[in-house]
């Protein structure tokens, strides 16, 4: 896994001209929310289905009995239903967009990480895995993520969701200041 190779691929910067303004993309997501509410009757969200997916993965790790008797997975059993297929759709849409715009690229360490925290692939992977575990635990504890709380809940003016947004940005700013400051020392 040579880093030079990925870096050479990463240098190809044809992305910017294909990008939309963030306002157009945001407005598009807003209009998509109308459709999700009106037709699918299911607001946009990600981690509820992800938690159910985790139950399926847990079967070989923890045993089918443990999963079957778990209170959380009992109320949120795995099925290839709307929520889970929505996740497949997200990947499909992003894949199509990246292919159409010619921006698909294999990336092991992102530029900002390489510049600020070094090019170590394993360090990046360790942070990504740990971050993923923390973000998912947090999302399930809070009852949603940046999609379910942030966008779908925020647009309904839900108290829970605006609390989520405020606290999430606050701790993110602190974590970012510590993480990206630490390397300069």
């Amino acid at each position: 896994m040579s880093m030079a190779t990925t870096h050479e691929i990463g240098v190809r910067e044809s992305a910017s001209r294909m990008d939309w303004t963030p306002y157009l993309a945001g407005a598009g997501i807003g209009v998509l929310s109308w459709i999700a509410f009106a037709i699918a009757k299911d607001p946009i969200g990600v981690t509820t289905a992800y938690g159910r997916l985790a139950g399926e993965v847990a079967i070989p790790l923890l045993g089918a009995d443990t999963v079957a008797n778990n209170t959380y997975w009992k109320q949120a059993p795995f099925a290839l239903d709307y929520g889970v297929l929505f996740l497949v759709g997200i990947m499909l849409g992003a894949f199509i967009s990246s292919i159409v715009s010619g921006t698909f690229k294999v990336e092991l360490v992102p530029d900002v990480w390489r510049q600020e925290l070094g090019g170590s692939v394993w360090k990046r992977f360790a942070y990504a895995f740990l971050g993923g575990a923390i973000i998912m635990y947090g999302a399930r504890l809070a009852g949603g993520c940046t999609s379910g709380h942030g966008i779908s809940g925020g647009l309904q003016l839900a108290v829970s969701s605006w609390l989520f947004l405020g606290v999430m940005f606050a701790t993110g700013l602190v974590a970012s200041a510590i993480l990206f400051h630490a390397k300069k020392a």
Partner: protein
């Protein structure tokens, strides 16, 4: 499995999901750099996308809810659970460099580290399920106010909230665009 073949459902999930993934990528929030630089206050793309989505989506959903075309689906305000979960979420987002949805989308654009983080998310989901009984009894019950909305607790009607949000958002957008031009 049966609803996999139910009319509409599968296609709708894939279509709305795909549109969402497409828009996330076009908005550049599937880039780890963009997300990290939001928290470093060097790039405001994430906030621009989110605020625009909230205002455009919110006004439409509010009008449809007023016309009884849609029903609100508000998440419970378990204040302690939401606050603690969000606190973890912010830290996790900086470590991962993505949120759950943008991470999934990023995998499909070739990000291997996004895939590693997605495996971490599965681990986090398993840990949550294993601790769920304790969490439910001790955390989710604290400050549980149910499905409340800002207009309910403030008496300020939703259109006023959106008008205020729109004014703040536009002022913020103008400020960031001016900042970026020099």
């Amino acid at each position: 499995m049966s609803n996999l073949f139910a009319p509409g459902s599968v296609l709708l999930a894939l279509l709305i999901g795909a549109a969402f993934g497409f828009l996330l990528h076009r908005g550049r929030v599937t880039s780890c750099n963009v997300i990290e630089n939001q928290f470093r206050l060097k790039d405001f793309t994430v906030l621009k996308v989110m605020l625009t989505a909230i205002i455009v989506g919110g006004v439409g959903v509010m009008m449809m809810a007023d016309a009884s075309i849609v029903k609100y689906a508000v998440k419970d305000a378990n204040l302690l659970g939401v606050a603690l979960g969000a606190a973890l979420f912010g830290v996790g987002m900086v470590f991962y460099g993505y949120c759950p949805g943008t991470g999934l989308a990023a995998i499909a654009t070739g990000s291997v580290h996004a895939l590693v983080g997605a495996l971490g998310m599965i681990a986090g989901g398993i840990l949550f399920a294993l601790s769920f009984d304790w969490v439910k009894a001790n955390i989710l019950t604290v400050g549980a106010y149910g499905k409340i909305r800002l207009p309910d607790i403030t008496g300020v009607p939703a259109p006023v909230w959106f008008a205020g949000l729109a004014v703040l958002a536009v002022a913020f957008f103008i400020w960031t665009e001016r900042r970026q031009t020099h």
